[in-house]
């Protein structure tokens, strides 16, 4: 009764990972079924049951946890297939989400999109203006009631929304995080008038300052809620029908899981549920191997996703952007650019400059070498032409690649116009895409004050291990880790995750602050955390409460989150906290940038309640000798540098590599679902968990 199942529905594949009571990990995939995601999930489950030689029902019956990552929320958002939502705001501020702080028209865009002014626009409204209604009420900046809630007027507004046929309602009033009474009362009115209507209020969902972002978060939550609720209920029913009886949890964008049936109340918090799994997987493996600082890099067909773990903690983005809408729920900070195996190479006509991406051939038609009708050369085609991929052993031989076609496409579209030979052109394509990836990593690390050289880079996703050697070197990282679970790393991370609940309260005050007030806030937050986690069935001994507070110099907007020890605090503890903030600040922005005379503000107090779940126990295997020749399956000509041209390179079978094996680059390691490129400057070392560490 103690199997752990992790599943992740990606764009192309639904991945499934099974961890048995011995800590052994099995994985398989099936095709994602976009219109009925649960079908793909159950198919992947059937596949994995076959891998372990059992019946799906039996596997489910024996499972303690079914952990799930899904893009159902994102899909419903991008296809705009959600319900009709009504929004209630403070009267006079109905337009806030339409004004979008002006910045909405460029939010989340990159340089070349921002400067194309004539093409700029705001996002289509989440809620059309006629369905946004102002309520006569007002709380002021001190949390005092400035205008008492006018219930009769509020009822009229709700009645009109109901008449207009809304299927969900969002309520977001000014300063509700300081005084939620009006929002709560209006929610009660909605419940009274329409008991089954899905309703979100901002003071429950995101009780923090910043009205625009809070309103957006609430509106999107109401937009996604009904869909996510239906999906989770449906999948839950299917799982239970198929023999599952234990804990069904879903991955949150902030890391950690929550009970799936609760996700409907905080639908927006599971938006980015899939990609987070990869960062969590990195964190899990990192703990095992003692890596405190990790750059997690996921290279798929179309996108390159980067997450950061610093001092063992995942970095959070406090104001993530979803399709130009800025949210006020923190999410694990994942940065993405359009660069992957399917990225298309093209020539910029004016200067004959070689460019790669952001357009992608995707899965359909895919790279030219797939032979499915693609004509534009892609990164995968370049890898094939350079000998880095094996035409007969792509995805373990499940897909035969057409090298001649790839070569022809590169010749016609890149080599000829530039007057180069094909290998030079292919190498140029790889260099540019690697440089884009390195730039993103640089931005994600250095922008936060991290030196990438202090990090180990984890490479996963189908193409990660193929490119990581080059982009890691580009930014001076010496260690690159490829897990045996790299191809299904997100599902693995989801399976390895804890249950985590987040509690926050904004109450701006000047540091060091009054200990009684601070202790009171934390007492209240922790009491709520404890109660909820106990309700989830977590034993007291498995609950961990972590405190932090957002701090900044007075006048500043941007805050740093300072982790705090458990309380209660006395005055001198609070003073220590203030000086810890100054240290953190100077670490981030450089010595001499702190301006202590301005005074320090504490704003949002936070508690993370963690319910520790059963974990996979990966077994360390005994080391064999260091000679890897037993795993060598042949030789082929591979190009690593244009100066040296093609060199005869040993090819290794990943399945045959054993702990302790060590091989010097240049080499290629071929696995069932990915290919590791070991550059001449790297040495690959296999550890006791069969991770491949590239060093150099």
């Amino acid at each position: 009764m103690s199997l752990i199942l992790g599943t992740d529905t990606g764009g192309t594949f639904t991945d499934c990972v099974l961890i048995n009571e011995k800590g052994e990990v099995y994985f398989d995939k099936d095709t994602t079924t976009p219109h009925e995601l649960q079908v793909g999930v159950l198919n992947a489950l059937a596949n994995i049951a076959a891998v372990v030689g059992g019946e799906p029902r039996e596997v489910l019956r024996q499972s303690a946890v079914f952990a799930h990552g899904t893009t159902v929320g994102l899909n419903s958002w991008f296809t705009r297939s959600g319900p009709k939502v009504g929004l209630l705001t403070t009267q006079g501020h109905e337009d806030a989400i339409l004004i979008g702080r002006v910045h909405q028209k460029v939010a989340g865009l990159v340089e070349r999109e921002i400067t194309n002014a004539v093409a700029l626009d705001k996002e289509d409204p989440i809620v059309p203006r006629p369905l946004i209604r102002g309520v006569a009420e007002r709380i002021d900046a001190h949390g005092q009631v400035a205008v008492p809630l006018q219930e009769a007027q509020a009822r009229r507004q709700i009645a009109q929304l109901l008449e207009a046929g809304v299927e969900a309602i969002a309520i977001a009033f000014l300063w509700s995080f300081l005084n939620p009474s009006h929002e709560r009362r209006v929610k009660a009115l909605v419940k009274e008038m329409a008991p089954h209507l899905f309703t979100s209020i901002s003071s429950e969902l995101a009780p923090v300052i910043n009205d625009y972002e809070r309103t957006v978060t609430t509106a999107i939550n109401s937009y996604l809620g009904p869909t996510i609720s239906a999906y989770m209920r449906h999948l839950d029913g299917k799982l239970r029908e198929s023999g599952f009886s234990r804990t069904f949890v879903v991955m949150q964008s902030m890391g950690g899981t929550i009970p799936a049936l609760e996700a409907e109340n905080q639908a927006v918090s599971i938006l980015n549920s899939g990609p987070i799994g990869g960062v969590l997987g990195s964190q899990f493996i990192g703990k095992l191997l003692g890596h405190q600082n990790i750059i997690s890099t996921d290279v798929g067909g179309t996108s390159f996703d980067v997450g950061i773990i610093a001092n063992g903690e995942m970095e959070l983005n406090r104001t993530p952007v979803l399709a130009k809408y800025a949210l006020s729920l923190p999410m694990v900070d994942i940065h993405s650019i359009g660069a992957g195996g399917g990225s298309i190479a093209w020539i910029e006509p004016h200067f004959s400059l070689l460019q790669v991406g952001p357009k992608s051939a995707g899965a359909d038609p895919g790279p030219v070498c797939y032979g499915r009708g693609g004509t534009q050369p892609t990164v995968t085609d370049a890898n094939l032409v350079l000998g880095r991929l094996n035409a007969d052993f792509f995805h373990g031989g499940r897909l035969k690649l057409d090298a001649a076609r790839a070569e022809e496409a590169i010749r016609r579209h890149v080599a000829k116009p530039l007057g180069w030979d094909v290998p030079t052109a292919a190498k140029g394509i790889i260099d540019i895409v690697d440089a884009h990836m390195a730039d993103l990593i640089r931005k994600v690390t250095i922008e936060k004050g991290h030196d990438p050289r202090d990090f180990v880079l984890y490479a996963f996703g189908g193409m990660g291990p193929t490119h990581a050697g080059a982009y890691a070197r580009e930014i001076g990282i010496t260690n690159v880790l490829v897990s045996p679970y790299a191809p299904v790393f997100s599902a693995f991370g989801i399976a390895a995750s804890d249950l985590v609940r987040f509690y926050a309260r904004s109450e701006p005050m000047l540091a060091p602050g009054d200990p009684r007030r601070v202790n009171g806030i934390f007492r209240e937050l922790e009491r709520a955390a404890m109660a909820d986690l106990r309700k989830d069935g977590i034993p007291k001994g498995e609950i961990d409460l972590q405190r932090s507070v957002d701090m900044k110099f007075r006048f500043q907007i941007h805050e740093l989150r300072v982790p705090l020890p458990p309380g209660p605090y006395r005055a001198r503890h609070l003073e220590e906290i203030a000086s810890r903030f100054i240290d953190m600040y100077e670490q981030t922005y450089g010595k001499g940038t702190a301006f202590t005379k301005a005074g320090i503000e504490m704003s949002t107090f936070r508690v993370h309640g963690i319910g520790r779940m059963t974990k996979p126990v990966l077994k360390r295997q005994r080391r064999a000798g260091s000679k890897a020749t037993v795993a060598r399956k042949g030789w082929r000509a591979v190009l690593f540098s244009s100066d040296e041209g093609f060199v005869r390179t040993p090819i290794y079978d990943e399945e045959l590599l054993r702990p302790g094996h060590r091989l010097k680059g240049p080499a290629i390691i071929e696995g069932k679902a990915t290919t590791v490129v070991v550059h001449p400057w790297h040495t690959a070392q296999v550890d006791g968990y069969r991770n491949i560490m590239l060093e150099g």
Partner: protein, 665 residues
């Protein structure tokens, strides 16, 4: 590039000598050292770096500048920089050409270009430009746009050689002078009554922050702590760029990086010339007006631009622009040049990397010293960025839009002018906790953008001089100042009507909360007595900007009775109409209101799809009266449908009326 430098410095010299003689001093002229005229440049043959290295490094240089901007934004304590994005950073070549600029306030980069060139010219020998120096200045006559734009400029040395420069600028909320906020120095007779100028000084000398200079800088301001924090933000930004560029040098070699910086400029210039060549040759002109108020009476200053496009060059001639005002609204040459470079970047470089120096190679500027666009010492320029310089942007945008309209290829890409000035307000006082506060209220940056040839402008879309601008949250302002917003909304009928209309502007009203009085309320705006965001191709202009205060109103009584007044008509009180600039106050019970302009319209409003006009009415963007009177669209009761027949009749009637007006002598 010596060309640009000499002409700029000549303009400066003229300005500083106060020799305000008329007679078109050609500044930025392309007489000598003209750009290569080879029309069919194959870029490939001229590039000295291989294409892969160039692309990698160009991307890298942009990333470095962006990272520097983000560093600045995070350290800065001012909502002006951290929430509103009124700042910028740039990287320049060793001879002071702006290679790239961030997407924040674009005009800063051109000012930085001029500052660095002046430093090189004047300071090379004495006091010298040394490794790890950082200069600070806000001198409009050597390149700052106005006194509030305090700039840090740092040389970057590699292997003992000057490799590049980097600059960072933030609009400081207050840099001293007679009026809080420093911009609206109403009543000044010259720059001597405006905020003091700090000519370039070494704030950091060979790596050490000079306390004496820092004190000298800070003591003049009413917001010293904020300015001190922002100074650290700017230093943090230039240090970061320096560190990153040196890392690049270590990796790729000094020669490669120097070459790369030059080639980024060349790349932009070459592509821009190709684009200009594709546009029709011709002459286009436009006129706008600057508002002025000296405390007693108001006056209007006309500004003129005649734009000539010939082959691969555009010549902007501002001859005929009014003589300079005593103070406030003028801009120095830096303001003029930066104002028009913004237009060039936004209109012509939509798919070309933004290298200001690259743009400057493709233009020629003719301006007369002693005019509002090319002020000479001792005329004041305290408000330049939202007056003279801004109007230079609007003028040149209008000329470029007209040129686009004459090109079958580019017509679809034209935009009518965006909101043509930001009405600005400064609030200073003491909050309910007894803490002093000083704020520049920049909600009006949410004006409307200009209509496009294929669709409407963006409602509350922002202003053209900063595509990444943002406005602060209502909660941010209420937290920082003792005010309470009654509303902040999209204001109907403010967008210029047209087949496609300009985006609507914003309006807001707030009252004093928690204190008896906010003693300082400075208001200043252009586009106040006349609409500056004109229409294009038959489109109508947008509205004007407006300030008003309802004095001693019953707002607090209404609120305690459960009413949130949403317009002045719901209030009882004394209406105080504000001139274009005023130094005033707000007391308990007063309600302040500001309405901004939208963007200009495109095409005849009678050609607008009636259904679009109906949608606008339902969405509160156009009033039913205007739909009827201007668009000729009549709606059925309930606004659910257009009354087709009544609309046809109404449109015919409007046309008839127009014909009659046309026949009048």
């Amino acid at each position: 590039m010596a060309r640009k430098q000499t002409t700029v410095s000549r303009a400066t010299k003229v300005a500083q000598q106060g020799a305000a003689q008329r007679g078109a001093a050609k500044s930025g002229a392309a007489k000598k050292g003209a750009p290569p005229r080879n029309g069919r440049l194959s870029g490939k043959s001229r590039m000295r770096l291989d294409p892969v290295t160039f692309e990698v490094l160009r991307h890298r240089v942009w990333s470095i500048n962006d990272e520097s901007a983000l560093t600045l934004k995070r350290i800065s304590g001012s909502p002006v920089a951290s929430e509103v994005n009124d700042f910028n950073t740039s990287i320049l070549t060793a001879d002071g050409q702006a290679v790239i600029v961030g997407p924040y306030i674009v005009s800063h980069a051109v000012g930085q270009n001029i500052i660095v060139q002046n430093l090189i010219k004047d300071y090379g020998e004495n006091p010298g430009i040394d490794e790890d120096d950082v200069f600070i200045t806000n001198d409009p006559f050597i390149g700052a746009l106005h006194q509030n734009d305090v700039t840090c400029a740092a040389p970057i040395f590699a292997e003992g050689k000057l490799l590049a420069w980097t600059c960072s600028t933030i609009h400081q909320i207050d840099v001293g002078g007679p009026v809080q906020g420093s911009q609206g120095s109403i009543g000044s007779e010259s720059i001597f009554q405006e905020a003091p100028i700090m000519t370039p000084l070494k704030i950091i000398e060979r790596g050490t922050l000079r306390k004496d200079v820092e004190r000298e800088y800070l003591m003049r301001s009413r917001t010293q702590d904020l300015n001190a924090l922002d100074l650290r933000a700017k230093i943090g930004a230039v240090n970061l760029t320096k560190r990153r560029l040196l890392e690049l040098v270590a990796r790729y070699g000094l020669d490669t990086i120097e070459t790369c910086l030059q080639e980024i400029i060349t790349y932009t210039a070459t592509r821009l010339r190709e684009r200009i060549r594709e546009l029709p040759d011709g002459v286009w002109s436009h006129e706008v007006y600057l508002d002025y108020y000296d405390g007693i009476s108001d006056k209007v200053y006309p500004c003129v631009c005649t734009m000539t496009k010939r082959r691969d060059k555009i010549i902007f001639d501002f001859t005929g622009t009014a003589k300079q005002a005593p103070a406030i609204i003028n801009c120095a040459y830096s303001g003029l040049l930066s104002g028009l470079v913004v237009s060039m970047l936004v209109y012509l470089c939509y798919d070309i990397p933004w290298s200001p120096a690259g743009v400057m190679r493709c233009i020629e500027v003719i301006s007369e010293p002693g005019t509002v666009f090319h002020a000479t010492w001792p005329a004041g320029v305290s408000k330049a960025t939202t007056s003279g310089s801004y109007s230079a942007t609007t003028l040149t945008c209008a000329c470029l839009a007209k040129m686009f309209a004459a090109s079958p290829k580019y017509r679809k890409l034209l935009m009518a002018p965006w909101i043509a000035s930001i009405p600005t307000q400064e609030l200073f006082g003491t909050d309910s906790r007894g803490q002093p506060f000083g704020l520049t209220m920049l909600d009006p940056m949410a004006g409307g953008t200009g209509a496009r040839s294929f669709k409407d402008g963006i409602d509350t879309g922002g202003f053209i001089r900063a595509l990444s601008a943002s406005i602060a949250n209502v909660e941010t302002y209420e937290f920082r100042a003792p005010i309470l917003y009654l509303y902040r909304r999209q204001e109907p009928d403010t967008g210029g009507p047209g087949k496609f209309r300009g985006g609507v502007g914003v309006s807001m009203a707030y009252t004093v909360r928690g204190v008896d009085e906010i003693p300082t309320n400075v208001m200043h705006s252009m586009g106040y007595q006349h609409a500056d965001a004109c229409g294009i191709a038959g489109g109508y202009p947008a509205t004007t900007n407006q300030f008003a205060v309802m004095r001693n109103s019953n707002v607090n009584e209404l609120m305690s009775q459960g009413k949130l007044p949403q317009s002045f008509t719901e209030l009882r009180g004394t209406l105080d109409l504000v001139p274009p600039m005023q130094r005033s106050y707000l007391k308990r019970g007063d309600v302040y209101r500001c309405i901004t302009s939208g963007g200009g319209g495109y095409g005849d409003p009678l050609l607008r799809e009636p259904e679009l006009a109906r949608r606008d009415v339902v969405h509160g963007l156009v009033s039913e009266e205007k739909a009827r009177a201007v668009y000729g669209v009549i709606l059925k009761p309930g606004h659910g449908e257009v009354d087709e027949r009544a609309t046809l009749r109404q449109r015919a009637a409007i046309k008839k009326q127009r014909a009659e007006v046309g026949r009048r002598p």
